[in-house]
């Protein structure tokens, strides 16, 4: 019974919540009916022909209306004659639908929806997301609301309909911190804070947004999302989880492409099929590393074909999830129960990805040599060193010249008077040269003399040895061999089959590459084109595809506001949630995909993000009003800015940035910031169990550069909900746990940040303890501090100062480490007390959250 009530809540409330006051009190197929019959009936009467019972389907109107021996499942206008309703209402255990063992009995409210719908004529319209979005007229903004762009009108209209109102604008600095995290993943610096506070121009905020969008940190921040989508990791996964040291150039390509703001369609096409573009550049081929982030299994005794097939399936599932918001993976064992993807269509997509050369090999072939920035830098450095050695010991150097003169001075007088001996056996031409005054020697004679003396010169010998060493170092610099996608040659194409129950050992009928028909017309191929990954990319981005732009704008929206307009970002199918703002979603989708020439954004991601973050909706305060707390605790109507915890990477980056430790080095091999010993002990991996903790600057790099081992991801990131990256992750589910508290309080990385921040409080802040505390609070929270906040920390500071005054040993332990010794003249107790304050600051709710 209780279970039933909960189900009723779950199904009814959204429907009720989304109906608009004033609209016809009717039932809408897509909004109200489809969710019910999809979850309660389609399992046996839906698209999956194998699971279909009584050869009757309810997902196709003609079929549901068909007369079967005088019985019709649905008789439009007449629920009393509709077998569907009769069976649902039946008290007979044998008759009632769904069968009791399925435990899917309909609630009274659900039955009412179906009854009304049949009364209305049982009109089927297609699932909303499978119909192309149309241009939507922007509604007028209700009186008294601020609308900075059209987006705000859509939000304000919905709010007004709920009897709610927009919140006032957030504090200026809060807004800066919010936008800084959303666009660059970093907190604003003190300079940026004061410049922004002092900038009184009306578009100061827009200018700040433009500055953030052009910052190189933008690409790093947004790469994080793509790394989750691409299931990027620095190891191969599965049991032995060996290191994959050669994929980071793909990550660097990603950062760079995002910073260059490559249009979303082009950027995506390059990742899916860059190698198939005509005249593909090395960068475009690098982009295909996206789909080489699938796992490989190198454990002894495993079947390479089994795991190759698993990787191909992963590519199908990931592609459909990322670009079309569909859960295609369901169709690998049976036709999709809820969405129009048959098992055959699934394997037709499989066939598209089934032609690449990779085959679960340990060497990850095929690969491409990538000349990396680091490598070029190393070469240039060695060349400069060689030039320097030549300058001090080569034939043209002053030292060599001097040594030659010395030797001449010793040899020349003797050459005149004594007959040549074995020791002083000089070739005739050299002897002749030596006989001349240096100024009388020709260029050729000088060269000959140098060549001859080289072999006798100690200076030259030393220089030559040094140079030889440098050349050997140069030879050791290897380009990184990045795994890439490459199509097998025409004579080596694989055949693709429908795999029964997804089993690679149970092939059924042969299938040819094709796209599922329900979403968009098949790509038109011209002479010489194949139904390959490039054709798939073009189909995904064809103007007829109803999902691509919606899924994209929804994802960017969710990254900014925490929740998508469609909350189930990963599922736009019939089992997904109905959008909270369907018109807004379509307006954004149409705007995003319409070419710039026609007034759209032309897939320009930065322009889309700018539109969102400069809206009034985004600029609202995050204070929850009493009305919102009553009516809309989850803030689906956006009556205020949704507070949300920073993501794992941003938490690390923020702690490092606030304490002045953050390295701003971009790209390069992944790094190993400190983590507790003994976390890497994996069986059968050839002894790759040592964690080579980075030294120097690399200890303090941004979180996205941390070496990502799938079976043992960085524990701090994992605790803050980072995924393992074994498969594509569309959204991270934020949790709030005591283990997270232990991280910000005690993780040595956070403690070191506190130690460093304490030093800044002592050196950068001015005045008495209270003003220093205010300075630190404002730095960390990025807003003006209240007296109560200052007083709480002042009390703590005083208590700890007194506590540590009598205990220098403990004070030194807490306040210093090997890299951060006690500064000259500093008082250990004072520094320890500030360290406690800083440790507390870095755990504040207002610091962990985006306000």
């Amino acid at each position: 019974m209780l279970l039933r009530i909960v189900t009723l809540f779950a199904v009814l409330l959204p429907a009720a919540a989304f109906s608009e006051p004033g609209a016809v009190k009717g039932v809408d197929f897509r909004r109200d009916v489809l969710p019910v019959i999809s979850s309660k009936c389609f399992h046996c009467h839906g698209p999956d022909e194998k699971a279909r019972k009584a050869k009757m389907r309810l997902d196709v109107r003609e079929d549901a209306l068909t007369d079967r021996d005088g019985v019709r499942a649905i008789v439009p206008g007449d629920p009393a004659k509709s077998e569907m309703i009769l069976r649902i209402m039946s008290k007979d255990e044998e008759e009632v639908m769904p069968p009791p063992k399925e435990d899917k009995l309909l609630t009274a409210a659900e039955v009412e929806i179906l009854r009304k719908w049949i009364v209305q004529g049982a009109d089927y319209s297609q699932h909303w997301a499978f119909v192309k979005p149309q241009a939507v007229a922007v509604p007028a903004s209700p009186a008294g609301t601020v609308a900075r762009n059209s987006m705000d009108n859509f939000v304000a209209v919905k709010l007004a309909a709920q009897g709610m109102a927009q919140s006032p604008e957030a504090e200026k600095l809060t807004l800066l911190r919010r936008a800084s995290f959303d666009l660059t993943g970093l907190p604003p610096s003190t300079e940026e804070m004061s410049a922004f506070t002092n900038d009184k121009t009306p578009d100061a905020y827009e200018q700040a947004v433009d500055r953030l969008l052009t910052s190189s940190a933008y690409g790093e921040k947004w790469a994080r999302m793509w790394l989750d989508l691409a299931r990027y990791a620095d190891s191969t996964g599965y049991g032995s989880d060996k290191f994959r040291m050669n994929v980071w150039p793909w990550r660097d390509w990603l950062i760079d492409a995002l910073n260059r703001n490559v249009a979303y369609d082009q950027f995506s096409t390059e990742m899916l099929a860059g190698d198939l573009l005509s005249g593909a550049t090395p960068e475009q081929i690098t982009a295909t590393g996206f789909h080489r982030n699938t796992m490989t299994n190198v454990e002894g005794g495993t079947d390479d074909e089994e795991y190759r097939v698993a990787a191909v399936k992963d590519r199908v599932a990931t592609t459909m999830q990322v670009w079309m918001g569909l859960t295609a993976g369901c169709a690998q064992c049976h036709s999709h129960k809820f969405d129009p993807i048959s098992q055959k269509e699934y394997y037709q997509l499989f066939a598209v990805f089934n032609q690449t050369e990779d085959a679960d090999r340990e060497d990850e072939s095929p690969r491409m040599s990538v000349k990396t920035k680091g490598e070029e830098e190393q070469r240039a450095k060695l060349n400069a060193e060689i030039a320097e050695i030549e300058a001090r010991g080569g034939v043209a150097s002053a030292a060599f010249e001097a040594e030659l003169h010395q030797w001449e001075a010793k040899i020349a007088p003797l050459a005149d008077v004594l007959p040549p001996t074995k020791d002083r056996d000089l070739p005739a031409n050299i002897a002749a040269t030596l006989a001349l005054e240096p100024s009388e020697r020709s260029q050729q004679q000088r060269t000959e003399l140098n060549e001859f003396f080289r072999l006798k010169s100690k200076i030259f010998a030393a220089a030559a040895k040094e140079i030889e060493g440098k050349r050997a170092q140069m030879a050791k610099i290897k380009s990184v061999e990045l795994p890439i996608m490459r199509e097998r040659t025409a004579d080596k194409r694989r055949k693709s089959f429908l795999l029964n129950k997804g089993n690679f050992l149970a092939p059924g009928d042969e299938v040819a590459a094709a796209m599922p028909v329900a979403f968009a017309p098949p790509p038109k191929l011209v002479q010489g084109e194949e139904m390959n990954r490039l054709a798939l990319a073009r189909w995904i981005f064809s103007a007829d595809n109803p999902l691509t732009a919606r899924v994209a704008v929804n994802r960017f929206w969710a990254q900014i506001f925490g929740t998508g307009i469609v909350e189930t970002e990963e599922d736009f199918g019939t089992q997904g949630q109905f959008p909270s703002h369907p018109e807004l979603l379509d307006w954004l989708a149409v705007k995003f995909q319409t070419p710039k020439a026609d007034g759209g954004l032309g897939w320009d991601v930065k322009a889309l993000l700018r539109l969102i973050v400069t809206s009034q909706t985004y600029r609202q305060s995050s204070k929850v009003s009493a009305v919102a707390a009553q009516k809309d605790v989850r803030n689906r109507w956006l009556s205020h800015y949704p507070r949300r915890r920073l993501e794992a990477e941003a938490l690390r980056d923020q702690a490092l940035a606030l304490s002045g430790l953050l390295s701003r080095k971009i790209g390069g091999p992944s790094v190993y910031p400190p983590q507790p010993d003994g976390l890497w002990s994996v069986a059968f991996n050839g002894g790759q169990n040592g964690y080579p903790t980075s030294k120097g600057e690399d200890r303090f790099r941004r979180g996205l550069y941390t070496f990502w081992r799938r079976t043992a991801p960085n524990p701090t990131m994992f605790t803050f909900d980072a995924p393992s990256r074994e498969s594509c992750t569309i959204r991270r589910m934020p949790t709030n746990t005591p283990l997270q508290a232990l991280v910000t309080l005690n993780d040595p990385v956070f403690v070191e940040c506190a130690q460093s921040l304490a030093r800044h409080i002592m050196s950068d802040a001015k005045g008495d303890a209270a003003s220093r505390i205010r300075w630190a609070l404002e730095l960390c929270l990025c807003r003006s501090a209240t007296d109560a906040q200052v007083a709480a920390l002042r009390e703590l500071y005083d208590a700890e100062l007194a506590n540590y005054k009598g205990n220098t040993v403990a004070a030194t332990q807490l306040a210093t480490n090997a890299a951060l010794p006690l500064p000259q003249g500093a008082d250990a107790a004072e520094l320890a007390a500030w360290t406690v304050v800083a440790n507390t600051l870095l755990s504040l709710d207002g610091v962990l959250m985006k306000n």
Binding site: F9, K623, R645, L745, A792, N803
Partner: protein, 480 residues
């Protein structure tokens, strides 16, 4: 909004509001099925099971690498009689082995077996302690899996999916029941044998469930739980004062913004503070009497299986929901003395036999066995043939998915029975096959779940521990 209002909102929102839109929350609600269950934002808050339960906690002793049942519990005189004879042709037809090549010889157990207890359970001479408790055990000799490589087989048995990415059994259980003692993790993982299991941390991963349900790997060296110790130089008093200041400022934050999440965060930091005291205490086995330490063969300071068994009892006693031990080193291939039947295997027996016995007896003496389900076993079986990889002279057995032995006790399981049997050479199951899915269904059932109903919707699928099909059946024959 004042703090009191916010507190009550934190409790209310989970059911009344979150559930409307969040699929995860809906799944949780329908799974738990009553309103009081999710009374706070704390994901590990205690929840009653939806159905009557026999067990409220689990200790799972995972023998990583797959122990050779034929040398432990599954006595095969016929195999002994045909020792080193050619193996029957039909063993090889259509079979795939991890390492065996060509025509292997049968390998009878080199160890003596005898029957013990009222149940007459056959136990090998290498397990004298387990033999003593034959009448406490339900020995299932007819386990079966379809995976014959370590990692996929471990993932299959512990997460219900041969590939990485699914939720582990312990995650499912803490997701469904929360945990009794909020000052300790709800799902604890303890390792011994010198390596992670081959399936790696995915064996205790939360998969698609929220991160709060992942197994917490507790360590023998360093902090038992990561970062549970305050930084060097910081006293408990200082930590308390710092948390007081933190709480004051966070309360101001809650009042200013009215976000229930802030209240939850305040609670989590307080919980962490209590954990800092209770974790080191729970993990300090030196607090046990010398008699108890001796009974287990435990020595404080080691990362041994014996210590972990004693820890498991301490944790269960303190209200931890699910404790899983992984003991590595059972991969008895016989490529040399380090992994053979004559040297490596007896060593593993000595490391574990006494401790398993002590654990069961200790739980029984303390009245904990009835409510604690104890499970012992590996991820697959081992061949009745000698592997002889590369002509190795050392004796050993290859991977074998068709049959293997596990035992269970406590938590509403019949004691002193043998369930199922293999054929006379121990190659196939002869009666009462228990598949991995059956085992999972049975464990969930004992904890008060309907294994078919317990699901979590993720990426379009209603994911279940027992997998997408209903092939898994509760093994009624072993229920008390």
């Amino acid at each position: 909004m004042n703090l009191h209002q916010l507190h009550s909102q934190t409790r209310r929102q989970f059911l009344n509001t979150t559930g409307q839109f969040s699929l995860g929350a809906i799944a949780l609600q329908s799974l738990i099925g009553h309103a009081s269950a999710a009374s706070s934002g704390n994901p590990l808050a205690m929840k009653a099971p939806p159905l009557p339960s026999k067990a409220k906690a689990v200790i799972y002793l995972s023998m990583s690498g797959a122990p050779p049942s034929l040398d432990m519990f599954d006595w095969k005189p016929e195999l002994k009689a045909k020792d080193r004879m050619d193996c029957p042709e039909n063993f090889l037809k259509g079979e795939k082995f991890a390492f065996i090549k060509g025509k292997p010889k049968l390998l009878g157990s080199p160890y003596k077996f005898a029957q013990y207890g009222q149940s007459g359970t056959w136990v090998s001479e290498k397990l004298p302690f387990m033999a003593k408790m034959a009448d406490d055990l339900c020995v299932i000799r007819s386990m079966n899996t379809d995976q014959f490589n370590h990692a996929p087989a471990e993932l299959m048995i512990y997460t219900g999916n041969m590939r990485n990415g699914s939720a582990s059994m312990g995650s499912w259980v803490t997701y469904g029941l929360g945990t009794e003692n909020q000052d300790l993790p709800g799902f604890v993982v303890l390792l011994s044998g010198g390596s992670d299991p081959t399936g790696g941390k995915a064996c205790w991963a939360n998969g698609f469930l929220p991160g709060a349900y992942q197994g917490v790997q507790c360590r023998a060296v360093g902090d038992p739980v990561l970062y549970v110790s305050d930084p060097a130089g910081m006293s408990r008093e200082t930590r308390r004062r710092s948390l007081d200041a933190l709480k004051k400022i966070n309360q101001g934050e809650a009042e200013l913004f009215g976000d229930p999440e802030t209240i939850t965060r305040i609670e989590q930091y307080e919980l962490a503070y209590r954990m800092q005291a209770s974790v080191p205490d729970a993990f300090n086995i030196a607090k046990e009497t010398p008699e108890t330490l001796a009974m287990y063969g435990a020595k404080p300071g080691e990362g041994s299986f014996a210590n972990n068994c004693l820890l498991a009892r301490r944790l269960i006693e303190k209200g931890v929901r699910f404790v899983q031990l992984f003991d590595w080193g059972w991969d008895i291939h016989g490529t040399g003395a380090h992994d053979d039947l004559m040297s490596a295997f007896p060593k593993k027996c000595i490391e574990t036999d006494r401790a398993c016995y002590a654990l069961v007896q200790d739980l029984k003496q303390r009245g904990l066995l009835d409510s604690t389900l104890v499970v012992w076993g590996g991820e697959f079986g081992r061949t009745p043939m000698n592997e002889a990889r590369g002509g190795s002279k050392a004796l050993g057995r290859d991977h074998h998915p068709h049959c293997f032995t596990m035992w269970m006790t406590g938590g509403g399981i019949k004691r002193g029975i043998n369930y199922g049997a293999t054929d006379e050479l121990g190659y196939h199951i002869a009666e009462n096959k228990v598949g991995v899915r059956d085992l999972q269904a049975t464990i969930l059932h004992q904890l008060g779940f309907d294994p078919y109903q317990m699901n979590y919707r993720y990426q379009g699928l209603n994911n279940r521990l027992i997998g997408p099909t209903n092939e898994g059946k509760i093994v009624k024959g072993i229920l008390a």
